[in-house]
């Protein structure tokens, strides 16, 4: 099986990196090729990396609560860059207020993310979904 390529990064002005580091380790253990952009990554950086590496998915982390601002318009920009239908996941503390996981999920799905993960999601759970979504 050819390994699939995943771009990861913590979006916007967000510097919280530890969870993203764990995600990278577990993805690599599961055989994915990980292009890890680290923290404080723009939408443009994520898209450019996905285009350059012909990535199969982009996994966006956001911990500091301003994810809705930072992710706005991301799917449209992916489409413009020729990444139509690329698998997009987002996870973390995605809004600053105490909204339910369901409300947050529908907000980010409306933005074009395929899956939306609340805090305390173990990377292994997301990877089960990722394998399904990538036909593995």
């Amino acid at each position: 099986m050819a390994s699939k390529t995943v771009v990861t990064g913590v979006i916007g002005a967000d510097g919280h990196i530890v969870g993203n580091w764990v995600l990278r380790q577990v993805l690599q253990q599961e055989g994915f090729k990980v292009v890890s952009l680290g923290a404080s990554v723009s939408q443009r950086d994520l898209i450019n990396a996905a285009v350059e590496t012909k990535a199969d998915a982009i996994l966006v982390s956001s911990i500091y609560g301003q994810g809705a601002i930072d992710c706005d318009g991301f799917r449209a920009k992916c489409d413009e860059a020729g990444l139509k239908n690329i698998v997009l996941y987002v996870g973390g503390n995605l809004t600053p207020s105490d909204e339910s996981d369901e409300v947050v999920e529908s907000k980010f799905k409306a933005m074009g993310f395929n899956r939306v993960y609340p805090p305390q999601t173990h990377p292994a759970d997301a990877i089960v979904d990722l394998k399904k979504d990538l036909g593995l």
């Binding site: 913590v10 990196i17 764990v22 680290g38 301003q66 999920e105 173990h122 759970d125």
Partner: protein, 492 residues
């Protein structure tokens, strides 16, 4: 990536001319800077604050009365809601406040902060993760210090380019600010140059020194605790090195802050180590009349969603801080795992903390055998880093810190900042204390390396597993899980 000292940085007190020349540019970074061109008027405003609103004075009073202060954080985009929230907490017993600035403000992204503030007011709900005090400006922010009868700290210096943030904060009547430079890069920044950041901190500390010298004492919080995996002795070394730089610029009132790693003995030892080493090095460098307090910041790793599990972590942090002799304690809300806290969640956290403090009284760790060993070894490790840094700078700490980072003498694991070598690896021993699994280029002798190895080996033997990546990942992900694990499921 290597970072060089490209701007001729030195640990030398700025002249008045250098400061005011730089100030012109700083105040021009956002229109609200125009409101505070007259620095002496700003100092006079601060000087006129009632004692109960001044951090340094409240600290002195609390120490005399043997009280431990509890600080609570509030940060929302709407200033009226910010004031209402703080008022409710004041009435619930909070001793002081942290105004948590939003990340855009902390990163000097003032255009984005303004857009976030304006959008939040339109929506009726905060889009930002904090209070955009630079957007509001001093005239508006003085409404906060007018309304609140407790000291206020403004974390606008938490990330990069803190100068305008600190200027507006101090002029608004906020009497405490964060004073760290390398630490702020380590915690939240990506690629901001270290030499420029140390220079930025010199500005901030000179400004605080100016206020202080003119009768309006500013408390400077020197904090070390990047996240939940910050090796205490590396953090301690960074605090001490920053403390030398701060004192050179005229800062006098210092609260040394440590982040809890959740081992009681190690965290309590850290409080003492920072205080003792700061006083030792200030004396060595000839900085007299320093007024030192100590504070703690709670666990900076993953927090449980369940409010009672959360309360358990808060209680542990407060017990540790009291045992270690902290003068003030920052307390998180019961919503820490999810979002910016509301009033009820902040009051819940406050009550947990106050109950612990009331019950513990004046209990402190003194001659506990393992506590003393922890202190001694932490001091040895921190001193090794400090001394090598001083050596690299030929006695100049500013030059030394830049070289030390370049060579991996100071290396913070799991940092978003690309300036570190990133080769040090920490792991917990069987008591949960953080030890060095890989010391890389840290200037540790055989005794220190062996001591860390033995502590890790104890855990390996006890748990019949190797200290490796698997162990680290498990430790990072299991602490905040529900007590009875739910069946794992995918997203809906």
């Amino acid at each position: 990536m290597a970072w060089k000292n490209e701007i001729g940085l030195k640990n030398k007190k700025w002249t008045k001319e250098e400061f005011f020349a730089a100030r012109k540019e700083v105040l021009g970074r956002w229109p609200t800077g125009k409101e505070i061109e007259d620095l002496d008027a700003a100092v006079a405003f601060q000087k006129g604050l009632a004692d109960e609103k001044v951090y340094a004075k409240a600290m002195a009073k609390a120490k005399k009365e043997d009280r431990v202060l509890i600080e609570i954080g509030v940060g929302v985009a709407d200033i009226d809601k910010q004031i209402a929230h703080m008022k409710a907490l004041e009435e619930a017993g909070a001793d002081s406040f942290l105004i948590q600035a939003d990340t855009y403000t902390r990163r000097a992204m003032y255009k984005e902060a303004q857009a976030g503030r304006d959008g939040s007011l339109t929506d009726g709900k905060s889009r930002l993760n904090g209070f955009p005090h630079v957007t509001y400006g001093t005239k508006a922010c003085r409404k906060i210090s007018d309304a609140i009868n407790r000291p206020i700290r403004c974390v606008g210096a938490a990330d990069q380019m803190p100068q305008l943030s600190a200027e507006i904060g101090f002029a608004s009547g906020f009497t405490c600010n964060s004073a760290y430079d390398l630490h702020s890069l380590a915690q939240h920044c990506k690629d901001y140059p270290l030499d420029k950041q140390i220079q930025n901190a010199q500005y901030l500390n000179w400004l605080a020194g100016y206020y202080t010298a003119h009768g309006a004492p500013i408390e400077l919080n020197l904090y070390g605790g990047v996240h939940g995996w910050s090796p205490p002795s590396t953090m301690s070394a960074m605090v001490v090195l920053h403390g030398i730089l701060l004192a050179e610029q005229g800062g006098k009132h210092v609260s040394a802050g440590s982040g809890m790693m959740c081992n009681v003995l190690q965290d309590a030892a850290r409080l003492r180590v920072d205080s003792e080493l700061l006083q030792e090095y200030w004396k060595r460098y000839g900085y007299n009349d320093m007024v030192l307090s100590s504070m703690t910041w709670p666990w900076m790793g993953d927090w449980p969603k369940d409010v009672f599990q959360n309360a358990g972590l808060t209680a542990l942090s407060v017990v540790t801080a009291v045992l270690g002799g902290a003068n003030w304690i920052y307390v998180k809300s019961t919503m820490e795992a999810g979002s910016v806290p509301n009033e009820q969640a902040n009051i819940a956290g406050l009550n947990v903390a106050k109950q612990v403090i009331r019950t513990m009284g004046s209990q402190k760790l003194h001659d506990h055998k393992e506590f003393l060993v922890e202190k001694e070894m932490m001091k040895k490790e921190a001193r090794a880093i400090i001394e090598r840094t001083i050596e690299l700078g030929d006695g100049d700490v500013a030059i030394g810190v830049v070289k030390a980072v370049e060579q991996g003498v100071i290396d913070v694991p799991f940092s978003p900042w690309i300036g570190f070598k990133g080769e040090v690896v920490p792991v917990r021993d069987s008591t949960g204390a953080l030890r060095y699994l890989k010391t890389a280029n840290l200037p540790f002798d055989k005794e220190i390396i062996e001591w860390n190895r033995e502590k890790i080996a104890e855990r390996e033997k006890r748990q019949n597993r190797k200290a490796d990546l698997e162990m680290i990942i498990a430790d990072m992900t299991e602490r905040s899980m529900p007590i009875v694990p739910k069946k794992r499921s995918a997203s809906r």
